[in-house]
């Protein structure tokens, strides 16, 4: 099992290793907005504040999108992240 900490609302969730962040967020009702859920619209961009190394590497679409924004490496599209260890997820707004 892995733990995901959603910092915006201080929500701590436990899930089987390898679950997608999208599924965890949906199941726990986390305050993340998803759009296309396929890694191309970018609505669900978040910051992995801790445990980036516990996430899968971005696939080609996601990498392409993040590059187009010059996004720092700790930003990811929540719908594309697979969680393999404990992580903390932060909100990008003010």
């Amino acid at each position: 099992m892995v733990k995901v900490h959603f910092l915006l609302e201080d929500l701590l969730v436990e899930a089987p290793a390898g679950t997608t962040l999208q599924r965890i967020a949906d199941a726990a009702g986390a305050d993340i907005t998803f759009g296309c859920r396929t890694g191309s619209c970018g609505t669900c961009r978040v910051k992995i504040a801790e445990g980036l190394e516990h996430c899968n590497d971005p696939g080609t679409e996601e990498r392409d999108y993040l590059r187009s924004l010059d996004a720092p490496p700790d930003q990811r599209l929540a719908c594309q992240v697979c969680v393999h260890g404990d992580i903390a997820v932060d909100y990008l707004g003010l």
Binding site: K3, L8, E9, D10, L11, L12, V13, E14, A15, P16, T19, R23, I24, A27, A28, G29, A30, D31, I32, T33, F34, C36, R37, S40, C41, G42, T43, R45, T60, E61, D64, Y65, S68, L69, D70, L92, G93, L94
Partner: protein, 1140 residues
């Protein structure tokens, strides 16, 4: 007396700013123009109001301009013809130049007059005007400017590469006739799209103009200084000419129907000076929106600049309308495609005889795909009018193929017509001295006039040069004529030392390859800078195809090692040298280098070894292959034209049903697999489907009575309340071109209507589609309804908001019949195939929340955020005072199509709308797809949208006083802020931040809500519908995607304007981040996660007066016409997207 040239060597020259801006500041009346019919004819004011023009020039000179531009932007017979004033053109130019000269002379220090020549109103590249007509029109203008005393000609604001070349020629000819040489300046206008209006990038412009020997090449108009940087950099690094830069006062904005330029003099000057230093610009000034004050602000800084020094490095290149291609490729050689040649390709000859222009274009594109860098085009065919054929083919080729052209003809008039047609820099193929030097002189003259490179063969009066010495001797003579006499750059002289066949065994030619290879070496050493080329495949004439591939490959390989730069070659037939059998290689190299010995003749060895051997299967040429294979490839390559001939041929001795079932559907299956594996992009899939449709149409009349290739039937519909068409239509295209009968019921279909149709037309499945989140709920309701009716017909669900979990869980539980989720059209196809074959897998509902059960909430921090006393989320902080809008109430806005391009999210368009996904491709392969397919497609569409009006962008937006009241926004009358107009109610998050949209507005005082509504108009929707109906799948899909993103672009543009008007644009991020909420505040549309209820569109349209721009609300609360979008704009810094 100081000349312009002398001054340019000393200092940076300061030109003037906008002329139009100054004229319009005087608010010319109908009387000023001389009547209603002449209103807007600014060039005529030179005659009618000379004092104004005098004053404007004077004000610029006083502000510090070294030179001013004449009021002659449109003063040529073609433009003036719109006012019935063609005959005045010459006089107006003389007069305008004289007035400016007169003012210049009243100043002490040297002041100059630049004759302004605008782009006119007709695009020659798009065929709006003939070459001769345009040339004659410009000639009149040039004559007038010269006679009026202009010190330089400035061909400016250029949007069309073809037009520039004509105007340059007109100027040259006028100067030659008057024996008065003055500097010739050119300024191109690069739109926010990064290209000229017709799609040329700045490198293509430079390559095409470089041989014409102009004096200045720079940029003006379209954008402000910042947006010009990338293009200035290209010119700075490569252009041998002085560089000029006359930007607008920023990117123009439309404020309340008025064009407004955002940069004031203090903002403009430092940006221009920065660019001048950075890029070594020699001539500065301003264009639209700039005034004498802008020039005054620039003057002190310009005085401090010294004449720039650059060391430009220009690669010798050829150019198409769109792009420049270096003649020296790395690795060499540059490949010239040889199949668009009536002498070399039977297929091309047949297409030409049938006047199948599209087929010829397809052949050209095929060569581009195979890796050709340049296309040799030859339409010489006995009994046909070569000039007309060249004209017909080139007029299509130039806009549809991005490769530069090699004009291959022996006829001087054909070459000239072709050079007039092709806007870039061509290569002419070819000259030689067979009949002396009269003909090469005429052709070199054309190369000089039109700016072309030339292929020169080593043939003279004695015939084809065979020995290396003779080849070098003729090459020297060619060099002397082209370079020394005609002033051609040696890099544009491409010498062909001739290739003869080694396949005949003829003793005379046994050593010919050695001579050719050695000649290459000598020519490169003795004539520095020249390029070399060979028609490589000649070397193997007479041998069988298998032997030819190997010999050609090795000849090419050794040619490159001896200094070969370019090869006329079928790019698909290159075999990696490493893959050639070592023994074969030895024999062929012995043949090339003529290494014979007692009892050993490599030719005999080769003939023996290759007799009966099949050609190596490397992307074999289509025509050599069995018809069924060609059919299959026709589908895979999406050759909707070419496939018809193959279909006809195949029908002669194949069963039509078998053709469809085995060959065509088999090929479509491969298409599906490739798409699934990420190897094929959606646009290519659609091209395949178009080819399939064309092929089936052709075969259908031949089907036996009662013979059907159809596998099953499906009813398709977009569900009630949803107007989204495209996903469902893609499914229709894929299924109907994979052997299924599809009845497409359209959008907004209530389940009752679908079931009624099912009764009349029993189908194997129902396919339901929808994009909205709400549609996912409707789909489940539909299934409940079907369950109540006791139906069992299988249902396939697809749509953006659906998830597999939801379909296989919730939806399956609602209905006892089989329910499937289709992620894309091909998964839908697989379900249909499984259904008719009876091999569907497990269709039992996935037990509820299997995975969710394992996901446990360990802690929900400090309960939810509390609400304030006013009922708002306390997470939102109200620290900044609401901004004040420049007006209250609603205004209208319009934009030209091209103005939307600057706000277009090309990234999202190409990847999400057009479906160019990287998938399993390497980064390089994907970059090549983007470069060769996606970007040219976008450039073509932009040119199409500009050339043919298909969009009517209109918008309304406004500012309303509002106050938050719990979950509602109370909107007040802008005219009477005490009077409530509407109350907009929004849902609230139940946990977490407990946000609702009103929280971003003040509850304790009046706040400002901006609303916006943009549409591309009914014409856009009609156009999409027409394309779909006419089976232009790829076009329909491309247009729909582009129109959708352009609707967004307009919304972005209007939102940017709202931010500026509210004074909150300071937090706008640069670049693409703007498309990812990179700004202060947020734009919320109904139907999206923060305000999912489409009903909200009703009050919004009422508030904005949507009817004024013909936007209506459908019964399902969506906006009609398609390509319309609306939004509520919040200014609050914490306002971001959120989900209810």
């Amino acid at each position: 007396m100081t000349t312009l040239d002398a001054l340019l060597r000393e200092k940076v020259l300061l030109l003037d700013g906008g002329m139009g801006t100054q004229i319009f500041a005087r608010s010319p009346t109908m009387e000023d123009y001389g009547g209603a019919a002449l209103e807007g004819c600014v060039d005529l004011l030179t005659e009618r109001r000379p004092q104004w023009i005098r004053e404007i020039h004077e004000s610029y000179y006083r502000a510090g301009s070294d030179a001013v531009e004449t009021n002659t932007f449109g003063a040529n017979p073609l433009v003036l013809g719109d006012f019935g004033l063609s005959a005045k053109a010459y006089d107006l130019n003389v007069q305008a130049a004289s007035i400016a000269k007169e003012v210049a002379r009243s100043f002490d220090r040297p002041r100059f007059v630049i004759g302004s020549v605008g782009p006119g109103t007709k695009l020659i590249t798009l065929g709006h005007v003939s070459y001769a007509e345009l040339l004659a029109s410009y000639r009149v203008q040039m004559d007038g400017l010269l006679d009026g005393g202009a010190d330089a000609i400035l061909i400016e604001t250029c949007q069309d590469l073809g037009q520039i070349k004509v105007a340059v020629r007109a100027a040259r000819e006028a100067m030659a006739a008057k024996k008065r040489r003055i500097p010739l300046w050119v300024q191109a206008t690069v739109e926010t799209t990064g290209t000229l209006l017709v799609g040329s990038d700045i490198s293509a412009v430079l390559t095409s103009l470089e041989p014409l020997g102009i004096d200045v090449l720079g940029l003006n108009c379209a954008t402000g200084p910042d947006e010009m940087h990338a293009h200035l950099q290209t010119l700075s690094e490569s252009s041998p000419f002085y560089l000029s830069c006359l930007p607008n006062a920023g990117l123009p904005e439309n404020v309340g129907g008025q064009v407004v330029y955002p940069l004031d003099p203090a903002g403009f000057a430092p940006k221009v000076l920065h660019a001048a230093k950075e890029f070594g610009i020699a001539i500065l000034g301003g264009c639209c929106g700039t005034t004498p004050d802008h020039i005054r602000a620039l003057a002190p800084g310009v005085e401090r600049l010294s004449a720039p020094k650059r060391s430009p490095k220009l690669e010798r290149s050829a150019a198409s309308l769109y792009q420049s291609v270096a003649l020296k490729q790395e690795p060499p050689p540059l490949i010239v495609g040889e199949r668009t040649n009536a002498n070399g390709s039977k297929k091309f000859r047949d297409l030409l005889a049938a006047e199948d222009w599209n087929g010829m274009i397809a052949l050209a594109k095929e060569q581009q795909r195979e890796g050709a860098h340049l296309l040799d085009v030859c339409v010489a065919y006995v009994g046909r009018d070569e000039t007309r054929d060249a004209d017909e083919l080139l007029s299509r080729l130039i806009s549809q193929v991005t490769l530069p052209l090699m004009i291959d003809s022996t006829e001087v008039p054909v070459i000239e017509r072709a050079l007039q047609r092709a806007p870039g820099k061509c290569v002419v193929n070819s000259i030689n001295f067979e009949d002396g030097d009269a003909r090469p002189r005429r052709i070199l003259e054309l190369c000089r006039t039109y700016g072309a490179a030339v292929v020169a063969l080593t043939i003279d009066e004695r015939g084809m040069a065979k020995s290396r010495e003779q080849k070098l001797e003729v090459a020297r003579r060619l060099y002397a004529l082209a370079v020394n006499e005609y002033g051609m750059d040696p890099g544009d002289l491409i010498i062909d030392p001739l290739t003869f066949t080694l396949g005949s065994g003829d003793e005379e030619f046994r050593g010919s390859a050695v001579e050719t290879l050695e000649a290459l070496k000598l020519i490169k050493a003795e004539l520095p800078g020249v390029m070399t080329i060979l028609g490589v495949s000649n070397v193997s004439f007479g041998l069988n195809p298998a032997a030819r591939h190997v010999l050609n490959t090795l000849m090419l390989y050794h040619g490159v090692r001896h200094g070969l730069d370019m090869a006329i070659f079928n790019a698909s037939k290159v075999i990696p040298v490493a893959k050639i059998d070592p023994e074969d290689r030895r024999s062929f190299e012995d043949l090339i280098f003529d290494r014979r010995s007692e009892g050993y003749d490599p030719l005999k060895v080769v003939l023996a070894r290759f007799s009966g051997r099949k050609a190596v299967q490397v992307e074999d040429h289509r025509a050599d292959r069995p018809v069924l294979e060609r059919l299959r490839d026709g589908i895979l390559d999406g050759e909707k034209q070419a496939i018809l001939t193959d279909v006809d041929e195949a029908l002669q001795d194949h069963d039509p049903l078998l053709l469809i079932n085995e060959v065509l559907l088999g090929a479509m299956k491969v298409v599906g697999e490739r798409f699934g594996a990420g190897e094929m992009q959606l646009p290519f899939v659609l091209e395949s489907a178009e080819a399939m449709k064309a092929a089936i149409r052709r075969i259908e009349p031949h089907l036996p009575k009662g013979g059907s290739y159809q596998k099953g039937r499906i009813l398709l519909a977009t569900v009630k309340g949803d107007v989204h068409d495209i996903g469902k239509n893609l499914v229709d295209i894929i299924l109907s071109n994979n052997g299924f009968e599809v009845r497409n019921l359209g959008i907004k279909q209530p389940i009752e209507a679908i079931l009624k149709e099912l009764k009349a037309w029993p189908a194997d499945a129902i396919g339901l589609s929808g994009l909205l989140v709400k549609s996912t709920v409707i789909m489940k309701e539909n299934l409940h309804f079907m369950e109540e009716q006791g139906l069992k017909v299988p249902v396939i669900l697809g749509g953006a908001a659906l998830t597999r979990d939801y379909v296989e869980g919730d939806c399956r539980r609602a209905y006892a019949g089989p329910v499937f989720y289709a992620e894309d059209a091909f998964e839908g196809l697989r379900h249909m195939q499984a259904l008719v074959a009876g091999t569907t897998g497990d269709v039992a509902p996935v037990p509820a929340a299997v995975a969710a059960a394992e996901i446990k909430i360990l802690k929900r921090g400090g309960a939810a955020v509390p609400l304030t006393a006013m009922g708002q989320s306390s997470w939102v902080r109200h620290e900044e005072a609401p901004p004040t809008p420049p007006f209250w109430g609603v205004r209208e806005d319009t934009a030209a199509t091209e103005e939307l391009f600057g706000h277009l999210d090309e990234f999202a368009l190409i990847r999400n709308r057009w479906g160019f996904a990287q998938g399993s491709q390497s980064d390089e392969a994907f970059a090549a797809v983007l470069r060769d397919k996606a970007e040219p497609q976008l450039a073509r569409w932009k040119a199409r949208l500009v050339a043919t009006p298909m969009l009517e962008p209109r918008a309304r937006y406004g500012y309303f006083p509002v106050r938050a009241e719990g979950d509602a926004l109370q909107v007040f009358d802008p005219a009477d802020p005490a009077r409530p107009l509407a109350r907009l109610v929004f849902p609230r998050q139940t946990a977490g931040r407990r946000l609702s949209l009103p929280d971003f507005f003040r509850a304790d005082r009046t706040d400002v809500l901006a609303l916006q509504l943009v549409t591309l108009g009914q014409t856009a929707a009609d156009h999409a519908a027409r394309l779909y109906k006419e089976d232009g799948y790829a076009d329909y899909f491309a247009f729909h995607g582009l129109a959708t993103e352009l609707t967004e672009a307009y919304a972005e543009r209007l939102h940017a304007r709202i931010r500026r008007e509210l004074g909150i644009q300071g937090r706008d991020l640069p670049g693409r981040a703007l498309f990812a909420q990179g700004y202060q505040g947020s734009r919320y549309s109904y139907g999206y996660p923060a305000c999912p209820d489409l009903e909200g569109n009703g009050p919004l349209l009422d508030l904005l007066g949507g009817g004024e721009i013909r936007v209506r609300l459908s019964e399902s609360h969506q906006m009609d016409p398609e390509y319309t979008t609306s939004a509520l704009v919040a200014w609050h810094p914490q306002a971001r997207y959120f989900s209810i």
